[in-house]
């Protein structure tokens, strides 16, 4: 890394150290509430259930992608956002949960129907699988769990993020009618971010 870039990333990191992570939770919750309010008051158009479902799902994917960017950003630029990653991940989970609840509680409203859809519709099956994969990650996103599990085990467990995000990307592509560009962009970015990790793992094992 060139010296100038190193000093730049160092000063960015110094600034970031003074920025707390908690506003991510506040902003995340407020945004979810705002979207819900828009849905209530006609701001999401005449089909608010579907619109809210989509908006929550998209924010969830965006936050998961943001979380995946943390490590490559540090590797490539030295900028360290690790202290924000837990907040990004937990807020992402919060949106996945909201996405699921809009679908289950506002849209389908019947346990039998929910079960049937999860079993019968592959795109819902994989979306639900991604949701399930994220539950243990959300539950262990705290210092006590890291201590209890041990850092190595905890890290291994949290690699479940990768299949979960990938399933989320496929879920999005699979549910749309036709070929709008957005789900493919998400999928490309996510696959890219996962491939980068695959290469690192290879490099690491090659040099070990």
């Amino acid at each position: 890394m060139p010296v100038s870039q190193q000093s730049l990333s160092r000063s960015i990191n110094a600034t970031l150290r003074r920025v707390p992570a908690w506003p991510i939770y506040i902003i995340g919750a407020a945004w979810a509430g705002w979207l819900f309010y828009l849905g209530l008051t006609g701001g999401l158009g005449p089909e608010p259930i579907n619109a809210l479902e989509r908006r929550y799902g998209e924010v969830a994917l965006q936050l998961l992608v943001a979380g995946l960017f943390v490590t490559p950003l540090r590797t490539w630029t030295g900028v360290n956002l690790v202290k924000f990653r837990r907040a990004l991940g937990l807020t992402a989970f919060f949106y996945v949960l909201a996405h699921f609840l809009v679908w289950a509680v506002l849209d389908l409203r019947s346990l039998a129907r929910i079960g049937e859809e999860i079993v019968k519709r592959p795109y819902i099956t994989i979306g639900f699988a991604a949701f399930l994969l994220l539950i243990p990650l959300a539950l262990t996103s705290n210092n006590i769990s890291i201590k209890r599990l041990g850092a190595a085990t905890w890290r291994k467990l949290h690699r479940l993020t990768y299949p979960a995000v990938l399933l989320g990307a496929i879920h999005y592509i699979w549910l749309v009618k036709g070929y709008p560009i957005e789900p493919f962009i998400y999928a490309a970015v996510i696959v890219g971010l996962l491939l980068v990790r695959l290469r690192w793992t290879r490099l690491r094992s090659a040099t070990a």
Partner: protein
């Protein structure tokens, strides 16, 4: 004009607007029964239809020439050129040629029809269309006895259509009906909604309405009608034949490969509206089921 589907009164002639909004809900049920003459109204057709507002009808549309999103048509369609307008009618007709909109409608009464509208995406509306029966327009061109299908084509105006410029699907958009479907008294060419000219995002100035089929069959902004003896290609069927059949009749017992068609969300109900059950042939079973007698509707979806 045939007047096979007859209302005794046009609600807006006799009732102030505030009142006929309620009356029209009643008329819709009565009218559907009138198609089959004295046949008693079925449970479905007797059900009161509450029309969606013009705002809802004209702000939530699929019109892929303008983009993928439901709001794209309302955002972009204002630039579409709809006047002057003509439709060329060709193929197996006695009088092929280019008919202006005025010629097509001349001598025909514009009727009001309040129909359910069910999208393949499992949402629905109730729309008070104004228009004429397609059969009467086809008669002007003189359908030859060899004709068995009717093909339709939407206008293509790349300059004002972002979806066409982006080639998001192949254009022109094309659709088709079997001749007996096209000549059925429920099938109409609509030129307006709520007594106003058709909003551009809804397919101005003239569009097809086939109320017992999924919405994508009801092709918008028609510039060409072809009578043929072969089943014509249709846009969504070409894109994905497994998911979108030529018939695409509304059928709660045949699911879309990816989602259920058993229920639907009516547009405009807000965040807490319940889904409603989808009706066979979208509630027009009494009128159209005979068209498909002996057919396996799982096979010919």
């Amino acid at each position: 004009m045939a007047h096979r589907w007859k209302n005794d009164l046009t609600p807006n002639e006799v009732t102030p607007k505030g009142l006929w909004l309620n009356r029209r809900a009643m008329m819709a049920g009565l009218g559907a029964a009138a198609v089959t003459g004295a046949m008693p109204a079925s449970r479905a057709s007797a059900q009161a239809l509450e029309p969606n507002t013009l705002e809802e009808i004209s702000s939530y549309n699929n019109f892929y020439e303008f983009g993928w999103n439901k709001t794209d048509p309302a955002d972009h369609a204002h630039a579409m050129v709809t006047s002057p307008w003509s439709i060329s009618i060709d193929g197996m007709v006695d009088r092929p040629g280019t008919y202006t909109l005025e010629q097509l409608l001349e001598g025909l009464d514009i009727e009001e029809r309040i129909y359910r509208f069910r999208c393949v995406e499992a949402w629905s509306m109730v729309v008070p269309w104004n228009g004429v029966e397609l059969a009467d327009v086809l008669a002007k061109a003189g359908v030859q006895s060899s004709a068995r299908f009717v093909a339709f084509e939407t206008t293509v105006q790349p300059d004002v259509m972002p979806g066409v410029r982006g080639r998001i699907i192949p254009f022109p958009y094309v659709e088709g009906l079997r001749l007996d479907e096209a000549q059925h008294p429920l099938t109409m060419l609509a030129t307006g909604i709520y007594g106003d000219p058709m909003p551009k995002q809804n397919g101005a100035p003239i569009r097809l309405v086939v109320p017992w089929k999924y919405g994508f069959k009801s092709i918008k902004s028609i510039v060409r009608i072809t009578l043929t003896d072969e089943q014509p290609p249709t846009t969504w069927n070409r894109l994905n034949a497994r998911e979108y059949g030529f018939y695409s009749n509304v059928n709660p017992t045949v699911d879309h490969p990816r989602w259920s068609q058993a229920s639907e969300r009516k547009i405009g109900g807000g965040l807490f509206a319940r889904r409603q059950d989808t009706l066979m042939f979208n509630g027009y079973e009494d009128q159209v089921a005979s068209l498909y007698a002996g057919m396996d509707l799982r096979e010919d979806y």
